[in-house]
Symmetry: C2
DNA sequence: TAGCATTAAACAGCATGCTATGCAATAATA
DNA sequence: TATTATTGCATAGCATGCTGTTTAATGCTA
């Protein structure tokens, strides 16, 4: 009859997401970063000089969301946008020195925030939990997401 | 060194949350409801006539978030706010007829959206997964959240 | 009882996410 | 080659979440 939040995978996942984001934000704030900015940076740290389109695809958010986030990152001096040499529609997103310098610290605190989440389970179950999350994401992307045309 | 999103419990949970919210939104839209509105309604369906403070505590969001959501729900004709008989600061939030009529359908589609999420796992693992989510939420609330003073 | 603290809501301002549109540049095709 | 389709981004507008501040009503206490 009624809806039991405490047994809803979606509601529980959303709550974990909110608490994780808050934990990460508290740790990133001293570095001048936000959670979404961190994700973009982590992509650029592994490969600098990507187009907005590539970043959008790899992080799995909508193009407009990425455009807004990149706008804030440019405003905050984390990235620069330079014209694409071959395609005048596109731009190359590249790290500033300031952003490059944050990699070690930011990665460390992000790992810490994730450890806090996993810390809710005994070590013996953590690996299985990660595996379950991964399988669910794959299934949802395949089933509910936009079909890859 | 670098940050691996695909092994981050927080990132994966956030992604499941986004995909779940989208799946739920698609199903609720024909009823004129949004995911956050559904959660408030589900609370009111089980006990009508609560104060904003009670709803805030039970759904675990901030007071300001709840005030905004209730504002949209009032605008959309789902709830009414009436003065509290004993406390002139407070208001009683009660369901409109229209909102009361949606319970069965809305609950059904929400269950469906949750089934889609759990569907990413074999049935044998679903119960364990729910238990893990619940334990993590409890641990995070206790550890990182605002201490219950 | 006067004054301070607490509580219930509202409001302001911001970050992230989304959809829908619009625009310019590039590609494909009739 | 002229049209049409596609692609890469930007913008607008909205929902949800947060923090911080303000206001009004209540409660407590010296």
């Amino acid at each position: 009859m009624s809806f039991d939040k405490s047994r809803s995978a979606g509601v529980l996942a959303s709550e974990i997401a909110r608490l994780y984001t808050a934990a990460l934000q508290r740790r990133l704030a001293p570095l001048g970063l936000s959670p979404a900015q961190f994700l973009v940076l982590s992509e650029l740290w592994s490969e600098d000089g990507q187009t907005q389109r590539m970043l959008t695809a790899r992080l799995g958010v909508e193009q407009a969301t990425m455009a807004n986030t990149l706008g804030r990152m440019e405003r905050d001096g984390q990235i620069e946008r330079r014209p694409h040499p071959d395609d005048r529609r596109a731009q190359i997103v590249s790290l500033t020195e300031a952003a490059r310098a944050l990699e070690a610290q930011a990665t460390a605190v992000a790992r810490e925030a994730n450890a806090v989440v996993l810390g809710g389970l005994p070590v013996a179950e953590q690996e299985l939990f990660l595996s379950m999350l991964g399988r669910i994401v794959s299934a949802l992307r395949a089933g509910e997401g936009v079909p890859p045309s």
